[in-house]
């Protein structure tokens, strides 16, 4: 207990926790839009593409200042998205191909530059390689200030453009048709994604930062059908994962923050997938079981009769799945079929169900009764 209080009082750790949690909050909020726009892969490309920018900015200014590095990172991140756009519109290479190539090329150049500066005489280059997996412990007070400002700007823009972002995400054609400048707004979203991604470089790292955008949204979607609530839940999930990741990695200097954050996120996504109130699998199964009423034998008899008269002389029997569809309402027909067989009205051969003579006349009688 004492160590925990000490831990909270520790100036460095407070910075680290606050900074990483904040990255999670901003990443979760904005990531919701990236997720709904199916731009998950784009976030991955952008975060990988920031690496060469980080190294180049360091070479240009000879400083390891997070503000400087973020500018460089944003530069190559945006360059990558622009290149994808050009390749997508000007060549016959499809968008996913362009993204795959951009990711590999930019990240490759980044790693190359990183290994080159290891041989430079500057002493302070040490630690740049931490950007790959992230090291939250390296955050200092001034870094956190920069993060708060950048994240604050992203969130304010998100709130100001809420309706715009919502309509161009749901129905871009309608947005354009009603006068919204969709192309500019889409560029704005990409810029916000880049801004959010560069926030996480130092703490979460370039490889795993895209998880900070997408995973909170994937978890949040399971709990709600409201966009605003989804953004809130994603922010909470992101913030909690960020804080947890930072705390765990702070205990041991050898534990990189990014992977820990991702593990926490994965756990939350899994829990949400199963237990999420709106679309979680457990609730889904329960609803399905409940809605699957047992079909009435007479209904099944009528359905089989209708099937046989529709396929008179061509098909001898019908599989259970077909009978179920003929009955409709995803009803369970198994017990009804068994009851019919027991009553000698229907029979099964190799999984195909057909009516017996008696069953057929019974089905005809039923149909006549219903009409009359």
């Amino acid at each position: 207990m004492e160590t925990f209080l000490q831990f909270l009082n520790d100036y460095t750790l407070r910075n680290v926790l606050l900074g990483t949690a904040w990255i999670g909050v901003v990443g979760g909020s904005l990531g919701t839009f990236a997720f709904l726009r199916r731009q998950s892969l784009l976030g991955d490309v952008i975060s990988h593409a920031t690496l060469p920018g980080v190294v180049l900015a360091f070479l240009a200014w000879q400083r390891r200042d997070i503000g400087v590095l973020m500018v460089g990172a944003a530069g190559t991140g945006l360059l990558a998205t622009a290149l994808i756009q050009v390749v997508d519109t000007r060549t016959n290479i499809k968008r996913d191909g362009a993204m795959g190539v951009a990711l590999a090329v930019f990240f490759g150049v980044g790693v190359l530059l990183l290994s080159m500066i290891q041989n430079l005489p500057t002493a302070s280059q040490a630690g740049l390689d931490k950007f790959i997996f992230g090291q939250a412990a390296a955050l200092v007070q001034s870094d956190v200030t920069v993060l708060l400002v950048v994240g604050g700007v992203v969130l304010v823009v998100l709130l100001l453009l809420w309706r715009e972002l919502k309509i161009i995400t749901f129905d871009p054609d309608f947005a354009r048709a009603t006068g919204f400048r969709v192309t500019i707004l889409e560029g704005g979203i990409v810029t916000l994604i880049v801004g959010t991604t560069v926030m996480g470089l130092q703490t979460v790292g370039v490889i795993l930062m895209s998880a900070m955008l997408i995973a909170p949204a994937a978890a949040a979607r399971q709990w709600t059908d409201r966009l605003s609530i989804m953004v809130l839940i994603a922010a909470v999930v992101g913030g909690a994962s960020g804080a947890a990741g930072a705390a765990v990695s702070a205990f041991g200097p050898q534990i990189p923050t990014g992977p820990v954050v991702v593990l926490v996120l994965t756990a939350l996504v899994l829990v949400s997938l199963f237990l999420g109130r709106k679309r979680g699998l457990v609730w889904h199964w329960r609803r399905q079981r409940r809605s699957r009423k047992l079909a009435d034998p007479n209904t099944v008899l009528g359905a089989l009769g209708a099937l046989e008269s529709a396929h008179a002389g061509t098909v001898r029997g019908h599989p259970k799945a077909v009978v179920r569809m003929a009955v409709g309402q995803s009803a369970q027909v198994g017990q009804a079929l068994a009851a019919l067989r027991k009553a000698g009205l229907a029979d099964e051969h190799d999984g195909d169900w057909s009516l017996t003579e008696r069953g057929r006349s019974e089905a005809v009688r039923l149909a006549r009764d219903q009409r009359g």
Partner: protein, 253 residues
């Protein structure tokens, strides 16, 4: 008396997709106050015509005038739009009411939130299309016909003078179709103009009073009584006119 300009006038419109013409040199006039059906086989460019007028596709040549003025951002408020139902992801986390409200998002600037008048307008549109009971339903739970009615309601709150609709009856059951036709009639009574892509040749003469027959080129257009002739239909759909009976419910390219 000054003659009223047509609600929509399309001149020499050519739209190409990768050097292949989808629409070729189309001249079309839609007089104010008519209900016009756009009919034609799959791949005839019906959707493209709507999208080009809406400014969603860049034409290779030609011009579009709306109420006598070149189509552009100034005219946006005067055109209501019902896109194809399948053009969006209905799994989006939002409610019926929210989607309909989007028809009024373009009113006012950055700071403006929806006010009570917007809310009333949305409620009225939902009542018009018989969806008020489902107003708070999550949109992924809607049937095809309900989705179609949501899109119609969203267009109604746009309060436009000209409506462009891309297969508004696609996936709609017969009863709903009748009530939607009644909504179109009411729009017409209010002096508004409707141009709608329509797939069912049997119902076209009953639902609409004008028609445009399209097959990359415009074959004919005019009042239903004169333009919807067997000769024109044969030219539009090809000699065998295979779509006289129920056409397949496929989406046009």
């Amino acid at each position: 008396m000054q003659t009223m300009p047509p609600a929509l006038e399309v001149n020499d419109l050519t739209v190409a997709y990768r050097d292949k013409p989808v629409l070729w040199d189309v001249d079309l006039q839609v007089p104010t106050g008519v209900l016009m059906a756009v009919v034609g086989p799959n791949g005839a460019g019906k959707t493209t015509l709507i999208k080009a007028v809406m400014g969603l596709m860049q034409p290779a040549a030609g011009s579009v005038q709306v109420f006598g003025e070149p189509a552009g951002r100034q005219q946006v408020r005067r055109i209501g739009y019902v896109p194809q139902r399948t053009s969006v992801d209905w799994d989006f986390p939002t409610s019926v009411r929210d989607v309909v409200a989007m028809g009024r998002y373009n009113r006012g600037g950055l700071w403006r939130r929806a006010d009570r008048r917007d809310a009333e307008r949305v409620a009225r549109a939902l009542a018009t299309v018989d969806m008020e009971d489902l107003a708070d339903r999550q949109i992924s739970e809607l049937s095809g016909g309900q989705q179609q009615r949501v899109f119609l309601a969203r267009a109604l709150v746009q309060d436009s003078d000209l409506y462009l609709m891309d297969e508004p009856f696609q996936g709609v059951d017969a009863v709903t179709e009748q009530s939607m036709v009644a909504v179109l009639r009411r729009l017409q009574e209010q002096g508004r103009t409707v141009l709608a892509v329509h797939h069912d040749l049997r119902t076209a003469p009953a639902y609409f009073d004008w028609v445009a027959l399209l097959n990359v080129r415009l074959i004919a257009s005019g009042p239903m009584a004169t333009a919807f002739s067997e000769c024109n239909l044969r030219e539009t759909f090809g000699g065998s006119a295979p779509e006289w009976t129920t056409p397949p419910a496929t989406t046009a390219a």
